[in-house]
Amino acid sequence: MMKAPPAAPPLSLRAAIVNGPLTPQAEADVLSLVSGAGGSGLAGAVLRFEGVVRRNEADQDRGGALRPLAALNYQTYDPMAQRELESLARGVAERHGLRSIAALHSRGRVRVGEVSFVLIVTAAHRAEAIAGLTEFIDQMKQDVPIWKRPVWA
């Protein structure tokens, strides 16, 4: 008789595009995943990246010179953007053996100092978490149809 393989650990994937800046409340509405993943003792590493709208942005119409910003207006191609986020999360989780990925991205206006992107990955060890997070962000900027339009100050 063959031995049954060990029960596959549950892989948790969440991806969402939400209107406006990402607040702790908006995040909590979408996720309950981090505390769960940590609390079980299966994930030894929880890594969270937050992208914040910076106060200056290169202005392509002025040769790329930095210019003060009031906000960014994120335009998303729906529902493709959501689907690409999900498929990216699945691919990165599999390639790096992660336990979970949650990705949230803003749609619409996000002011300077506000959060437009949150990525949380959990893994057994930090090396996988760091590699997975890095690949997710690099790949998102290639493949997830989201554009930013500057709102100058």
Partner: protein, 80 residues
Amino acid sequence: MLIFGAAAMNTKADRVTVAVGVRATVRDVLVALREQHPGLRFALPNPDTGRLAVNQAFARGDHEVKAGDEVALITLLGGG
């Protein structure tokens, strides 16, 4: 065809019309787009490196576009 980001801002429109022959491929559409909409060339320096989504999924250069397909120009992205 749907356009976004800087392409849409510069054109002051969120879609443009591109005339192509029957059995046109994604690459044919990109070449025609560049010819028929010079204002979009800044976003599409070379048709070979341009990307289109057809029906909300990235499509290869040899993919054939059909009547009624939703076609979108995926220019340089800015997520994150």
